[in-house]
Symmetry: D2
Subunit: 342 residues, 4 copies
């Protein structure tokens, strides 16, 4: 059955698997003190055109979020996110488990945070009775596949700098942002705007792994301790190093991200042409459509996609996700079937 379920259903891009296999018997230092990790860090710094950032490799996204946030905040400080944010809803209270409140702000269908929203978090500040907001968390692409424009990111960044807030960007699907036709933020731009960000590997063609980039010096100190303490220091750290080395050596990261976003666009164009509606105007590899329930049930027999939310009595929001592994023929076959059914 052809699957549009998610972007972590397959293993990894062939280039990584080959590299992994061919270097398997090498004997290296543990805990990221190896040459692969060293090279990967250097390549990423080069791509970012910034050799002052610190780079760490972690296994997963929730790990990256909880480590960065708990490492950055004092006990009484909180992090601001939208109510759709991954840390707000999909991490089983991971941030709160480290002692910090996630201040959740309502956002529209586009899932984006704005300066106007952030300001709301300060309306009833009655220190010391209220938490101290100290960090802003955003994702790009957002949880609903939308993209921040450079202007939007810049505006948030300026507000944060002015108000002493750290800005942390979760880039679990950053490859698909970089590869989107609508994107105007380059990889090298991020360090200018944020204090820390993540370059996602797991959903972008790696077997697993996220690269955590620390720009603000205040966040760099002793983060190795936080990584170890949260159980995130991989013994065979080279496994992470070699994957990121490979991803960034020959622009594979952007190449595969572009592929995923393009496949999603084909889906979007094809589906909307059939008269079906979008729930959010995504330009990356997650697409949200409003399907009549009847149609949805018929399609589910041949294709895998995800229930997202109930739109109304007769209609459902469904999520389609493409990836580095999605084939053009998967899209064609789906659209053919869709046309047949309509």
């Amino acid at each position: 059955m052809i699957s549009f379920r998610n972007d972590y259903s397959e293993g990894c891009i062939p280039e990584i698997m080959e590299y992994l296999a061919s270097t398997n018997f090498e004997n290296t230092s543990g805990y990221g003190e190896d040459d692969y990790s060293e090279r990967a860090k250097n390549i990423i710094k080069k791509k970012l055109k910034n050799d002052k950032v610190d780079v760490y490799f972690l296994v997963g996204g929730t790990q990256a979020n909880l480590i960065t946030i708990s490492h950055s905040l004092r006990p009484y400080q909180s992090v601001i996110a939208t109510e759709k944010g991954h840390i707000s809803t999909h991490e089983s209270g991971a941030i709160e488990a480290t002692g910090h409140k996630v201040v959740e702000l309502p956002s529209g269908d586009d899932g984006k945070l704005t300066v106007e929203l952030i300001e709301k978090a300060f309306i009833n500040d009655l220190a010391p009775h209220t938490v101290q907001n100290k960090m802003v968390y955003i994702s790009n692409p957002t949880e609903v596949g939308t993209l921040y424009s450079k202007k939007e990111l810049e505006k948030i960044s300026k507000y944060c700098k002015k108000n002493g807030l750290y800005l942390y960007l979760d880039g679990a699907r950053l490859a698909m942002a970089l590869g989107s036709e609508k994107n105007d933020i380059q990889l090298e731009d991020y360090p200018k705007y944020v204090d820390a960000f993540c370059i996602g590997g797991t959903k972008c063609g790696a077997l697993f792994g996220e690269a955590l980039i620390l720009i603000n010096n205040e966040l760099k100190k002793d983060i190795g301790h936080s990584i170890k303490q949260k159980g995130a220091l991989l013994a065979k750290g080279r496994l992470l190093g070699l994957q990121f080395e490979k991803l960034f050596q020959k622009n594979l990261y952007e190449k595969y991200g572009k592929h995923a976003s393009e496949m999603a666009n084909l889906l979007k164009v094809g589906i909307t042409k059939c008269g079906l509606k979008l729930k959010a105007d995504s330009y990356t590899n997650q697409q949200f459509f409003i399907f009549p329930n009847d149609l949805m049930k018929k399609l589910e027999k041949k294709f895998v996609f995800e229930f997202w939310s109930t739109e109304d009595e007769n209609n459902t929001v469904v999520r389609f996700v493409t990836s580095w592994a999605t084939k053009k023929s998967d899209i064609s076959e789906f659209l053919k079937e869709l046309k047949n059914l309509i």
Copy 2:
């Protein structure tokens, strides 16, 4: 200057001060293992017509909330409250600091939680990715002075029991609920509906202190450890015991609560007669009025009351609080001045 700022501006009711002074030189056991505490517990159990509850005395309300909640929940469990709840906004992230998410639900101007609202907390349950909601937190009176009816409390209670949720009621101002003309929930009713609740002392005539009542056996086990661990085991525990003994010996608790609520009602009747509007329909000792800014400024010169929120360009919501210490003459003087100004 006459003050309607809050209900913890004076020391304590004279009966307690006298008792405190007259027993000062007695030598007793520490940590609540004394006769005063023993007697106070027995009196409260008698008032509750329930000798199976466990009673503990704590110094403050935030303490009571954070101990009860963290003691009741497993690490991945959360507590549901309204966005106006004391634990949501006024405890500097105390609950999250113990590792637990406060799931904040929007409530109307009346600040009450309902079954319909609670159900919303379960809409996107994607276990194990989402937190596990396990407790419901309500206050009576609420943070805006409103009261739950017996029917409303019963409905929430039934829903919680059916769905395996603990129901915890914060009664920081319970005396004023019990003393309100609109109240239909008696002290002895609470153990039937909730798993744990607090009988507030600090705001109800004691120097300080909250009585924590545990009804559900699951919450009783080892709570002494949680109390000690959170720094809430008072060495001279008898200070708490003797205050609660006095408050409940001769119905002083309800008597003074009634006084406070009555004073508030005089204010409310007088102020609304002048054509000013209520923000919330409170029947207890906190009253919220919408004042034109000009009027507010003039009144502030002679009386103390609190800014609550901005209503619009020309109007402000202000909070008036009465207490066991409020004199009838304070109200008359305020109303006289108000009439003069209007």
Copy 3:
């Protein structure tokens, strides 16, 4: 029955009770924003001959310890103490509950920490696999009633400063240190040696309360948030303020501390004259004796004192505690009975 059980068995010194009663009906601001607290802070700063310290009043000792330690440390940092330290053994894991390891070092019968012991905590430092030791916790008097000399404190202080460690001193019974004949550290000396310390009230004649003194600027920032978050911000903060104002206005603190230490010395001299042995050479109000079990059982019929530990088959270590409330006649009566029995 005459009691040598502890120093928190009675209420408070009469001067405080009188002050409390006579000011009961005053209307003041809450949360420590009142004139009593203001005055108390100023008097303490004057006594310390240091107007740059920050002073906060808390209800209890475990509270003071857990707030100071958790406020000072980053998540991966630990506090060093002796295995006899109050935070090591008598706070139900309060420090660990805030996320921090207590590195417990073995100490001799005198319960004192030394530079030689502290250095042991660094022997196997394998950062980031090991915790980062960042704070040293000592008590004066120690948990077994012994005193640090100025020289000893100075040595620890120098080591800490040199090695970037915070030094925090728990003075739960500081009055008795200040009042001991062997003491050579004056109140005003402490800010020179430590980053933070506590002046105990609960065990030194107050109803309750500890004054937390912050010297190091790094520890001052936002501590109000930590106090509120841990449930330690007393609504009627003036209760703490007025007690400390009274204690330090006329040297009552030292006067009563001296009384307690003198009473203890009378006991010590009397008991050792009878040929009984000391377990630790205390010069403050806690005395530890080795009693033959037979003798102990006989004495327990007429006097209250505490089992401390089993010395051997036939002998037990017992603790005697004196206080501001101990009368000279209590000592005489005890010694008379002891002589009778021997």
Copy 4:
């Protein structure tokens, strides 16, 4: 340079790498809901001759420890370990960061816990002032390579059951225990003695991964939430499933464990024959020798091994670790050189 540094220097056993590569493009469900994980769980249950255990796959050992411990304990409960235990010294305070004290007991050179030691943790139990000991943590092999005998494990197990303590066994190097000539505990024995244990993959031939086995029903409930909350739910869970499927399909786990232990024994026999002394009598793949400093320095030029501790002025304890990847010729070459030098 030939390395005896550790057992996680290479990638993985060839059988796993081959399996990983050959299944790379399969599309499966995420988060461990895949067929590989299902099969791996079933094979392990079969090996354990117990189909009632729950099996979860995690990425690393610190993760497994902190999840199991924090999931099992109430906030005021602690875990008992030796002062040499991995959780005591090598996890950067990971357990304390989840709120729990590690009660560290002194152990001899063999690093083993005994009932006599555990009992010491209860000597000064002054509930609720002291933590409540609720879990015992042991490792097999221990941190110094020694093995528990069946009798020793049984004795600890009985004590724990009788006293309501959970027993958790960290088997990060379990393969080498199972493969040791001195071992008398079979894999299927563990569920009889412990409440939970880990079967290590990372150090036993897998790329990464630990299998957590839960026997006691009390520990099973909702552990998926704890795994997600601590950032340990691998998106591509099948990567863990397929590795454990392969390890246990054809006894590869024990086969490679035996190889590592045998290589270590060759080293031990060879080195002791040269007149050098053992620090601990290990029968698994970690060996600790006392080397004269001169000799150590010469050997370090050609071989990689680890400094462990300073024995005295002239001698050092060094650690040698063998693994599935150690070749017999590595041992011969080392012993040849050693003989030359002596």
